[in-house]
Symmetry: C2
Subunit: 219 residues, 2 copies
Amino acid sequence: MTPAVTAEQVQSFIDVVQSRRSVRKYDSDTKISRDELKEILTLASKAPSSSNMQHWRYLVIDSPERKQELLPIANSQQQVVEASAVIAILGDLEGWRNADQIYRQAAEAGYMAPDLAKQFAERSTQMYSSLPKDRAREIAVIDASLAAMQLMLVARAKGYDTVPMGGFDREKFKAAFELGDRYVPVMLIPIGKAAQEGHPTTRLPIEDVTFWNEVSPSH
Amino acid sequence: MTPAVTAEQVQSFIDVVQSRRSVRKYDSDTKISRDELKEILTLASKAPSSSNMQHWRYLVIDSPERKQELLPIANSQQQVVEASAVIAILGDLEGWRNADQIYRQAAEAGYMAPDLAKQFAERSTQMYSSLPKDRAREIAVIDASLAAMQLMLVARAKGYDTVPMGGFDREKFKAAFELGDRYVPVMLIPIGKAAQEGHPTTRLPIEDVTFWNEVSPSH
């Protein structure tokens, strides 16, 4: 039922995964056009999400002034000004506001009967708008992180580099970019062409991070 | 500085992203070997993480008994018994316990001077073990979600299907699999061969989820 894949395609995919490294030095002459950024974000947004609510939002910071403003907020890490753009990955705490549109689109595409789509939209609006705050935030953060990972891989496949940054002042960021209470900053992702390769890193042995059928106390 | 990519490789990567769908009907005769699961998890773990702390953990549920036990916890969704395995993605709230090993590995691989590695390990242990609980949890959830997305794409590239599930009783899951206070269940990912294609879904127009340099109030 699933499309056949050739060994070469598998390897080419694995190469993307293996070649992605966190890059901190960017060629500041490289400019990725907004059209290409939109293409990358469109592919990132093919990620799955909670009830297809797509709680991710992208705040693209590509103006020199805004990048400079971001610099002290991001602990003066030069990549935020040297990269072509910084994509702030946000979680939308009020993603249910789009439920009607999401299910209307599904009905219009012929993926769902209009009546059912209406029911689903109502149920999702009701369910997501009444979630406890902590749970709503966690769902938004998870959806946003899924899109973030896909974004970094799509960028690498297209020959660009990225680095996910958690080290920035969240309060100052929220204030500077007027996120209000609706949007949670999840991470910053500078994107551009590497001027210097990212350094290689190791991973814990897979046995140390995997449990089989039960969580063993030795971990 | 970055490896050259051919147009074919880019397309083959995009095909993987585009062809991944949430699959809910699995061929229950397909068994993915533990060796192959480990290979998939090893690639998933190439995801980036906060200070390379790798807060993801995988609880692989592949025994028929455990899958049956999971069924009522997962709202009787048949995919948890029909898929070859269910990979519960966990966040480790005490990932700093591995800081020494992570930096020792980096030094052993020659990626970092031993003295520096020791300093980094101490700093990470100190920093991550003293984080406010909410922040520690969010970091663990983000890292785990990045690995989860990469896992789903790697699975697809290798011809398998998955579905990320957020709909399960977290408290009952924690009790049944004895997660204690250390591990946060982030999502369940059944993995196997589709018996029936996942249904297509739509996404919001990219303009509706993207801001340029400032968050516009119209969104």
